[in-house]
């Protein structure tokens, strides 16, 4: 089961729940799963079918370069983190 970490700003939607276990093969399934459990959370994370532009998904510490299509491993950690562009 993958572990999904809920950002503190979205915990009002989860009743304070910080982590959720989830069987999912990719980020899209993770978000659909979350939205079934906590209606409305998808809108906070996704816009026009993609992760919102100021957010990124990190799977096991790596920012998901394929966004919603990124694979999620059986024991992966999934985080929604600030999108950090090229520090330039």
């Amino acid at each position: 089961m993958a572990t999904i970490f809920i950002p503190s700003m979205l915990r009002p939607l989860t009743g304070g729940v910080r982590q959720v276990e989830c069987e999912a093969r990719n980020v899209r399934q993770v978000i659909e799963f979350l939205d079934e459990l906590y209606p409305g959370i998808k809108d906070r994370l996704v816009e026009d079918g993609e992760i919102r532009e100021n957010l990124a998904v990190a799977i096991d510490g790596d920012v998901a370069i394929m966004g919603m299509l990124e694979k999620v491993g059986e024991n992966s950690e999934v985080h929604f983190v600030p999108a950090i562009g090229g520090g330039r």
Partner: protein, 758 residues
């Protein structure tokens, strides 16, 4: 005499050596072609009319007199830009909306900062163009402006954008606000963490707007051909970024825009945004001529992208033994006229040097009537480090703890979970702290009196992102290496070194060339400390592609299976017949008659970039009469993973320290009350010169990054994170007065002393 050490336990043949840079001769002889050197037949000069007001509504623009002036070929206003709607459209990650991008280039309804472009003229020469600017009549309705980040956050503040709403992680505020984005993360139980502390300190800090200070001003030359093809020659850190921005703003397919990146005279993050390219392109379309524009220094200061001013509140709880129990910060950064300050980077970086179980970070991206801020090395992290590392030094003084031992006790390491949730992989902070502790500098005694020694840590995550490389095997065994990454800090050399190392050939046999956007696959900007890492991986993969094809060709010549052939250290050999072997050059000579040349290619988007850490130690002496600070000794320690070219790594470390000294002690935009910059020249914007600086000693620590074949980590940014805090800590220890605001000018230092009666 400078002391430069490399603490390395892995040696390679080419990686880690210090060969001559491929672009060195051209640069030292003045033959290198920079953007302003571009000279096409029939080129016109463009000048930009800029707003004298920080905030005003444009009521009308009359260009008829300018158009009638002899020698003027075209005048441009925002009406000439394709309609830019408010719908979201990504522009290389730089802007929130197409309208913002378009308006930033040429204001349509309002001007939002002094220097905001309003119109542009193309004329036969610069003098005529400038005369024409004076003939353009703009009627403004001057509006009240807001320039302070905290003032801009208040309810009832003047609104920079009447329709901007706060994005609270996907939830938009009901009322318009200057706060574009708020983001918050937490870890553990912060209340419990502070309750367990023996000492809790909380302070506020501010930093001023500063500029990257690159020597070469922004410039652009464009030619819009009659077939609709647009060619742009420009100074940029990202040719594909310029292509994307120009194509999007002008509503063109990207295939219609070719961008040739010229040599770049410094960028540090400030040469990512495309300010002039769409303007010169449209003027070229109107006139049928090539059009060139170059900013003056004043335009660079007033209308390019400085680093943001900031306000930060930091609270830290510790046990008496120095163990941190809880940390908390609120950070607000001014984005300038359009959203996009680096405050989210700041909150991610703020406590990344520490292993602490309980923490909370909040970041606010705030628009004000100042030029839109841009990246400046490790954007956001230096301001955050100034605040956090200053408070840690204050804690160390109160608890009488050695500042390096305190940091070692709390240092982040492999397995540390950061506040945003990610877990650190193999990182080298502890090794950097140990190297600083064991350095002659730290072991030496300070002279007492008005001297002080400061220490600070810094973090930058480093980035990956997309890179493309193509390499061709010439028939004499040399390699043509094509890359899309602009070379700012010596990456032609570092990519060529990784290529040569992988192929097992001499560095001198690899000729690297930075090419235009039509000649290579998409390559992200040179920035984020990514190029030696990501483009390096692309080069390694492309070299492996070449190796596989060389093996295949040898198998063909020897009439055997590829499995019977091996490639080791530049030699291609038959595994079971010692007589059959080729050097790389020998086999290259046979390519023409055995099937033709070989090219390797690679397009990558790698993860595993490996975080960067730095520790700086600095000694200062402060004149109690004048408040002037002199930096007397400086040592920079940094984990490079593996320094591909140690001289360039040392250059990055020394450059970061020097820029940090300026940021700490002198540099700032002075604004009048309405937001007009009062010091837009290098005479009045005081950057350090050699007379202000000591030699900068360096220690390169090499803790291999497992995400790169040679262990490489980015090095371009972590070096600018610790200096301001390290110097502030040194000044505070020298004077006995804690400094909470940058820059620490003589006046501020004297005032702090007067306030404290010292």
């Amino acid at each position: 005499m400078t002391s430069n050490q490399v603490l390395s336990d892995v040696e390679y043949n080419v990686v880690g050596k210090r060969p001559v840079r491929p672009d060195g001769v051209d640069k030292v002889t003045g033959r290198a072609q920079y953007g302003a050197d571009t000279q096409l037949t029939g080129t016109l000069w463009a000048k930009v009319l800029r707003s004298p007001h920080p905030h005003a509504r444009i009521k009308s623009i009359n260009t008829s007199k300018a158009e009638a002036l002899t020698g003027v070929r075209a005048v441009l206003t925002a009406k000439d830009l394709p309609f830019a709607s408010l719908s979201k459209e990504a522009l290389g990650g730089e802007y929130a909306s197409l309208k913002f991008a378009s308006d930033h280039m040429l204001a349509s309804d309002k001007v939002l900062f002094k220097g905001h472009p309003v119109a542009a003229v193309a004329a036969v020469n610069g003098h005529v163009a400038e005369s024409a600017l004076a003939l353009i009549e703009v009627e403004y309705e001057v509006l009240e402006s807001v320039i302070d980040v905290r003032e801009a956050m208040k309810d009832g503040a003047v609104l920079v954008h009447e329709d901007l709403r706060t994005n609270d992680m996907g939830e938009m505020s009901s009322k318009p606000s200057n706060i574009a984005t708020h983001m918050s993360y937490s870890l553990g139980d912060i209340a419990k963490g502070f309750a367990e502390a023996d000492l809790v300190l909380e302070r506020e800090y501010t930093t001023a707007t500063v500029h990257q200070g690159y020597i070469e001003p922004h410039n652009s030359t464009s030619f819009w051909n009659s077939d609709g093809q647009v060619n742009i020659w420009t100074s940029t850190q990202g040719s594909f970024q310029v292509r994307a921005t120009t194509a999007n703003v002008l509503r063109l397919p990207v295939s219609k825009v070719k961008v040739t990146p010229m040599e770049i005279g410094g960028g540090f993050g400030g040469k990512i945004t495309a300010y002039l390219d769409a303007i010169t392109a449209l003027l070229s379309k109107k006139t049928g001529h090539p059009v060139k524009a170059a900013m003056s220094r004043t335009e660079v200061f007033e209308a390019s992208g400085p680093a943001p001013a900031s306000w930060m509140r930091v609270k830290i709880g510790v046990k008496n033994n120095g163990k941190m129990t809880a940390v908390e910060t609120e950070m607000a950064m001014d984005a300038g006229a359009y959203p996009g300050s680096p405050v989210m980077q700041a909150i991610v970086c703020a406590f990344a040097c520490y292993d602490v179980e309980n923490g909370k970070v909040d970041g606010y991206d705030v628009v004000v009537n100042k030029p839109k801020t841009a990246a400046y090395r490790a954007p956001g992290s230096p301001q955050a480090a100034f605040a956090v590392e200053s408070l840690i030094d204050e804690i160390c003084l109160q608890l009488k703890l050695d500042p390096i031992e305190f940091r070692l006790l709390n240092a982040a390491k492999e397995g540390t979970r950061r506040i945003e949730g990610l877990v650190a992989r193999r990182i080298g902070l502890i090794e950097c702290l140990e190297a600083a502790r064991d350095h002659d500098h730290y072991k030496s005694k300070t002279n007492g009196g008005n001297t002080g020694r400061g220490v600070a840590c810094g973090y930058w995550p480093n980035r990956g992102f997309q890179s493309s490389v193509v390499m061709t095997v010439n028939f004499d065994g040399t390699i043509g290496l094509l890359m899309g990454s602009v070379d700012i800090g010596g990456t032609r050399a570092s990519i060529a070194q990784q290529t040569a190392e992988t192929l097992g050939i001499a560095y001198e046999d690899v000729k690297p060339t930075v090419v235009d956007t039509d000649s290579i696959g998409y390559t992200f900007i040179t920035g984020g400390s990514r190029t030696s890492f990501a483009t390096g991986i692309a080069a390694i993969n492309a070299a492996e592609d070449v190796m596989a094809q060389m093996v295949s060709r040898a198998a063909k010549i020897w009439d055997t299976e590829e499995d019977n052939v091996e490639y080791v250290n530049g030699m291609i050999s038959h595994k079971s017949d010692e007589e059959l072997k080729f050097s790389f050059k020998d086999l290259a000579r046979q390519l023409a008659t055995t099937g033709g040349t070989i090219s390797g290619r690679s397009n990558v988007d790698p993860t595993g970039e490996g975080n960067g850490y730095a520790v700086h130690v600095v000694d200062v002496v402060v004149d109690p009469e004048t408040g002037k600070t002199d930096v007397t000794r400086y040592t920079a320690v940094q984990d490079a993973g593996k320094a591909v070219h140690p001289s360039y790594v040392e250059g990055q470390m020394q450059g970061g320290a020097v820029q940090g000294i300026g940021w700490a002690l002198n540099e700032e935009y002075f604004f009048d009350q309405t937001g007009k910059m009062m010091n837009p020249t290098f005479l009045d914007y005081r950057m350090p010169t050699t007379l202000d600086l000591p030699m900068i000693d360096t220690v390169i620590v090499e803790v291999a990054n497992p995400g790169h074949p040679y262990g490489v980590r980015g090095v371009g940014e972590a070096a600018i994170v610790p200096p301001m805090a390290a110097i502030a800590n040194a000044v505070s220890r020298a004077t006995g007065n804690r400094m909470h605001s940058l820059p620490m000018t003589p006046g501020k230092i004297l005032e702090a002393g007067w306030e404290n009666g010292k």
